[in-house]
């Protein structure tokens, strides 16, 4: 969501110029208001800033090719760092929840004791729900599935605290996370 469309088509370059123009207008408006300017002056300054920033890119899209790529690089770097920070905090939340203790037996067993457990047959509804997930995505997507699982049993409920972090990781995706090579990695020359 943070990255701009790649590769940059002419329409994307124009849209980028307009978007940065809007951002410049908002910044100019806020700065003018903070400086005590009247609404008319603030609006004029905002319009001028928008025109100055967006104008060249709207008229000659290729002129914002370099800023477009630079913005995309900056967005990617930011997203990478921000994802690391979010993952770090999410692990801290898990660690905090684990302070209460765990039902999973983690200690090494005593001599002659085994950690193997007999495999029980799963309820038929388990398989039905798996098929339903694959064939008919639940309304609300993965958030609804995760939320539904969290409220299905009291012992799962604490995972609701992780939902905002998973959501942030989704927002901070850059599209570079998939290590598989892109199809058709060279074109006609």
């Amino acid at each position: 969501m943070l990255r701009l469309p790649r590769p940059p088509r002419q329409a994307s370059l124009r849209a980028f110029a307009a978007a940065v123009g809007l951002l410049a207008a908002a910044a100019a408006c806020v700065a003018s208001a903070l400086a005590g300017a009247s609404p008319v002056v603030a609006a004029t300054v905002a319009l001028a800033a928008a025109a100055a920033v967006a104008g060249p890119g709207l008229a000659v899209p290729n002129s914002v090719g370099w800023p477009y790529r630079a913005w995309n690089r900056a967005a990617r770097e930011y997203a990478t760092l921000a994802r690391r920070a979010v993952v770090l905090v999410a692990f801290a939340v898990v660690a905090a929840a684990a302070l209460i203790g765990s039902t999973v037996r983690l200690a090494r067993p005593a001599d002659g004791e085994s950690l193997w457990e007999p495999r029980d047959t799963q309820r038929a509804s388990t398989y039905a729900s798996l098929d339903a997930c694959r064939e008919r995505p639940a309304a609300g997507g993965w958030m609804a599935i995760l939320g539904g699982w969290a409220v299905s049993a009291p012992r799962n409920a604490w995972t609701l605290a992780l939902l905002p972090f998973v959501l942030l990781l989704d927002v901070l995706r850059t599209g570079d996370e998939d290590p598989s090579p892109p199809p058709g990695i060279y074109t006609l020359y």
């Binding site: 969501m1 701009l4 124009r14 760092l81 979010v86 999410a90 939340v93 929840a97 209460i100 074109t187």
Partner: protein
Amino acid sequence: MSAVRALARIVLAMVAGLAGLLVLLPVLALGVPFLLVGAVTRALGPRLGRPTPDWQALIAFDPVLGWRPRPRVDGRFLEARDGDFHVVTDAEGWPGRHPLDECEVVALGDSVAFGYGVDAAAAFWSRTRARVKPAAAPGYNMAQAVLLLHELAPRLRGKRVAWFVYVGNDLYDNLSPEMNGYRTPFVRWTPDDGWRIVTRHVRREPWTASRGRAGQTHLPVLAALHAPTALAERAAEACRFLIEEARAVCANAGADLVVVVVPSPLALDPGGVALLARHAEPAVAVDPRRPERMLRDACADLGVGCLLLGDHLERADFKPHDDHWTERGHRRVAALIDGLQTAPIGSGPRGA
């Protein structure tokens, strides 16, 4: 687990989560401009221009050449690694609006001669003082160029043919029956016939019998062509045969042939040379100018003019993530093509 423990875990996790979000707040605030600009760009993009088709929309099947550009195109096409660019083709499918019969120079070859990757107005053939007409298509190898030369021969009298040969893929593609799944004319040597151009396999159906240099094979193949290897020797023999064929066609047509050798951008950059060396067989020395010298020597032996663009271009004249020229590269090539025209027909730079 008791209900009390579950409740305690929930409370602890919620408190930790809220604290974590507060800690992340400054980090997340930094991302707001990226989020806003990304969202507005995605929302406005489709409203500010028509969808751009991929380059495949540029070409149509041809039973002899494998493919050729579609005629009367005037629109933008997408280069997947760089962006879109404006393409104009004439009634025959060749780039530019001027007809071939009115030109002084025919730019024969592949995508570099086509002007692939830059707007038509910025391509070298739009910037020359001489009237230059490309007869080229993305992906053509040298065998396809020779077949095209045969087709155009009756219209070449008194013209100079500048044949753009791209070291980065032509040398291998000359020997391959396919290019990225497209069936292509190629050259093959047999004891009975020697070197011959083969076209009988050219059909619409994708080639599936081999994968050529696609994907992971591309760099090892390119490295082998820049070193004293059996592949490089075979490629050199094939090039010599094709240049000899082109020379004969041009001589019969009353045209002057100049081979314009385009180096791989990897050969113009120490980092690129090191990359090639990493993909070469052990104990094989990579020489970045070897293919250019091979083509120059072949041209000199055959009495054909030769211009090595490696003597004139820099890495910055090529796009960073693509083997095609930047607008600056096109300007430089335009000046060089105009320089060629100061020599009269029949006196091109002999192995210069």
